[in-house]
């Protein structure tokens, strides 16, 4: 019992998030969306604050099924503020609409699922987190209830079901070999390499769909386009990072020389290249950002591939997660203010100088141009990959950064071209101060992480 209390004490952030989800649900039942929003903000802040003391712990609770380590704590510190920003974005987009409150509740449940994923020390928690995060996400995508949103949500659901089923199928092989669901006991897989490989592919399918890795990404552009922009922003950050951190938790315990690194490296290379190529021809900015976020997932894999052999990999993963959250949410926030078509961004840099500049900086940061956060993070990623002996992968990453510049310049260039703009956009822009807060925060974080990357690195090497 005492052990239980001790374990629960280490899980306060998750518990607070869960309670917040319940409270916001109650608020929605009481038809008081505003209270739900406020309690969501308060709960997320509280959970973030509660996560800070956990920094530095390397332990696991509940018989090793849930891990409190650098990965999971940093996941909380990145995902909770990211959810908060997403919630602000939701408020600015969906305020005073029916069912606004449900969104907050669903955000909470989905984030909870992502946190469970990021901290999972057990295959069952992987499945649980995937489901928890996924179920809430379907509902979020379907929020608009028009045919487009419904189709997107349906597709997402089918996709998730199939991929989740494949994962559980694969995990059953692992269980069959090792006789345990704990990730810490994955060493036993060496007895049955084929089963181990089949299980790993299953896990990759399940987490890969959530993280939208190629070739499991097909749902993402449709879902992002069908959902409200703020929801797309959320989906592009929180569940994705949760799934990627879960993958990292898995590979920590995988036997070293089982070929998984080469496989993941291949997936990373394919993901980056294919996604940027696809992004190059998109006309819809949200779809473009969707492909961009798919490609960025490939960069995450650089860190995961090198996790076992490079000391730089963990810092690189965390810094890139933070940087990616800041710049991606910021970019989505600007898009939420202006419009989802490329045409809507025409002349943005002249109409609204600061917003245009912010958007430019977000996109440059996504490309990886110094001194922004994206550069610092990608620098760490490439360094980690090279240190781990995956120089060719780093080169592919760098080449894809060049390709990505073409993708992002397709947005930036028109922003600074003078052209006639319909007036209604300006009215809409002025109406959403919360979104402005989001992109301003993202901008500050982008610049801060970029400049302070060295300091962050020190912080991570405690």
């Amino acid at each position: 019992m005492q052990e239980m209390a001790h374990d629960l004490a280490l899980m306060w952030p998750e518990i607070v998030v869960l309670l917040t989800a319940v409270v916001t649900l109650v608020c929605e039942m009481l038809r008081c969306a505003r209270a739900g929003f406020v309690s969501l903000l308060a709960g997320l802040m509280l959970a973030s604050v509660l996560s800070v003391p956990l920094l530095g712990l390397e332990t696991a609770v509940f018989d090793g099924t849930y891990r409190i380590n650098a990965l999971s704590v940093w996941a909380k510190l990145v995902l909770l503020p990211a959810t908060l920003l997403a919630a602000l974005l939701v408020r600015s987009e969906l305020a005073n609409s029916p069912r606004e409150g449900t969104v907050y509740s669903l955000l909470c449940f989905s984030t909870f699922g992502a946190l469970i994923l990021a901290g999972s020390g057990d295959t069952m928690l992987l499945a649980l987190g995937l489901l928890m995060s996924g179920l809430a996400s379907f509902a979020l995508v379907a929020w608009s209830r028009d045919s487009r949103a419904t189709e997107a949500a349906m597709k997402f659901f089918i996709y998730a079901s199939v991929c989740g089923a494949v994962m559980i199928f694969g995990l059953s092989y692992w269980y069959g070999v090792t006789g345990t669901t704990l990730l810490a006991d994955l060493d036993g897989l060496q007895q049955a390499p084929y089963a181990a490989a089949f299980g790993l592919v299953g896990v990759l399918v399940g987490l890969g769909y959530k993280a939208s890795l190629v070739p499991f990404h097909f749902w993402a552009p449709d879902a992002y386009e069908g959902a409200p922009v703020s929801i797309a922003a959320y989906l592009s950050v929180v569940p994705k990072i949760g799934a990627l951190f879960a993958l990292a938790q898995v590979v920590i315990d995988l036997p070293d020389d089982s070929g998984w690194q080469g496989m993941l490296a291949l997936v990373a290379a394919v993901t980056m290249t294919v996604a940027y190529l696809a992004a190059l021809v998109q006309e819809n900015v949200v779809r473009m950002l969707a492909y961009s976020s798919v490609a960025q997932a490939g960069y995450f894999l650089l860190a995961i591939v090198s996790l076992a052999t490079s000391t730089l990999a963990l810092p690189a993963l965390v810094v890139f997660a933070a940087a990616y959250s800041a710049m991606n949410l910021g970019a989505f926030a600007v898009v939420a203010q202006t419009g989802v078509s490329r045409k809507d961004l025409f002349g943005l840099g002249r109409r609204r100088v600061v917003a245009g500049l912010a958007m430019t900086l977000f996109l440059f940061s996504l490309t990886g141009i110094p001194p922004l956060a994206g550069f610092a993070a990608k620098f760490l990623l490439f360094a980690a990959a090279i240190e781990a002996g995956y120089g060719w992968l780093a080169i592919i990453g760098i080449v894809n950064s060049v390709l990505s510049l073409a993708v992002y310049l397709r947005i930036i260039a028109p922003m600074y071209r003078s052209c006639v703009v319909s007036d209604n956009l300006q009215g809409r822009a002025a109406a959403s101060p919360a979104a402005t807060i989001v992109w301003l925060t993202g901008l500050i974080a982008t610049l801060f992480i970029g400049v302070m990357a060295q300091g962050i690195l020190q912080q991570l090497r405690y």
Binding site: Y159, P215, D222, D257, S258, A278, A406
Partner: protein, 611 residues
Amino acid sequence: MNLLALIPLAPLAGAVLIAVFRRAPAMLALLSVSAGLAASVGLLVLVEGGAAARLSLPGLPTMPLRLSGEPLQALLSLVVAGVAFFVVLYAIGYLRAEPRRSRFFFLLCFFIAAMQTLVLAADWLLLLAAWELIGLSSYLLIGFWYLRPGVASAASRAFLYTRSADIGLYLAAFVLILASGSSEIATSLQTDGSAATFAGLLLLLAAMGKSAQTPFHDWLQRAMAGPTPVSALLHSATLVAAGAILLIRSAALLPAEILLLVALVGGVTTVVTGLIALGESDLKRLLAESTSSQYGLMLIAVGAGAPQAAVLHLIAHAAIKSALFLAAGVFQHSRESTRLKDLQGVGRERAATYAGFTLAALALAGIPPLSGYFSKDAVIAATLASPHPGLFGVLALAGTLLTGAYVARALRILWRGEPRRRQVGGQVWMGAGLAGLVVCAVTLKLFFPAIESLLESVPAQSPLASILGLAAAVSGLLLGGLIGGERLLGPLRPWAQQGFAIAGGVMTWVVRPALAVAHGCQRLDDRLYLAVLGVGRSGLRLGQVTRCGDENIIDRLIFSLAHASRVGGVRLRGLHNGLVHHELALTAAGGVVILGVLVALDRWIGFGVTA
């Protein structure tokens, strides 16, 4: 010691004021030179009273810049200040119609300040600096009328001649400082051994350049292209004296063999330049050659071991030769020329000037009771008392004889011929300056005992020297006056008129080789330039090739890559046709491929890639 600093600072202040105000330059110059003269007199009085005058200024860390007022220095300073005073007085009249008077007086004051610094310098660094500054002012003053033909090249020649000989002073100073460990002149002169020999040789080189000794005598004759006051002050009394002063001051250092060399240089110079003067066709150049000749006599005295005799002759010569130049300047204004042919008979129309000229000339020739007789007497007596009386005595007497001859020749030419009347302005100032110097030249003898007691040395006395000297002077005068210089030279005449150029002189020995080396260097430089240009050209060619490659290969590659990217993007979009079963099939296929890859890479399974 404020008086010590005032001597160079007064003319310097005058120069600065002239440069700043550009008004009344003559009066400012006169005022500052008078102040300098007063300071020099004051210093001499103090020194005679037994006071030691020293001044130390912050210079290099272990080498402060020092001024000192030894008796010799005080005396020379007074000579410089006195001649400068009279010459400035004269120049006010001489340059009455000159539009750039302020520049002239600025340079003159600047020169006087530098010269006084040189005289009073107590360490080598300050001496070197002053040495350079007088060279610079000499260059600028010779070139004062730089638009006239030949003036600029004369100035450059003077500068180059003295400048190349200056290397000797630099090296000597370094040698002495290194050998003695002190930059102070008095301390460093206690050096002996090979360092002393070496330094003495180098000092002699420097002195030969500045004092226009053979073979460096050519520049002084060409320097006569400058204004006459400049010739009087710089090129007879002061700047040219710097070489002799250097040797007089360092006489204690010089070993016997260097002393012999010094005397030989002086002796050769006094004879050679005396011969040249006999054949000269220009009054100022004749005086210049005489100057070289007289400094040759001084060098003989130094070489004979009697620097005090050299000092006496230096002082007397300063007054005499300045007076002669000033008179020559008056003649020059009368006839707008200094050529002896044009000056025939000018003595008749300027009787007073001619009288002054004659007095000074006779003093130069060494006729008693004028000052030149006594100083020359001291020199000849010193040669007879020296280790080589025969050699030195003959050289000195030959110099004396030649002096008499060319002086008589000049007097004869100036008197004979038709007088022409011509009004010349500024007579009062010019007359005052000339009169002052003539009086000095005549009466200086009265001060010789005082000078000797001040220098604490009594020159050798010998009746034989007096008789021989007087005989040589008189016979020289008679020869020159009765026969005339041209005929006296005989077969030597064309050679003397060329300045005793040996096989083409400087042109052959220095200028042509130097020019040949310069041309060689230029050719080498051209080759190098072409080589560098070639490197640059090949770089450009390489750049063009690279650019072609860039445009034809890399650009095309990139454009085709971009095109392929777009096509690939479009194809990929084709995969996203929105049909979920289609996409799921792709996903499944992808999963199978990944499984295949994993199995292929897995080492446990057996055909993995070994690390």
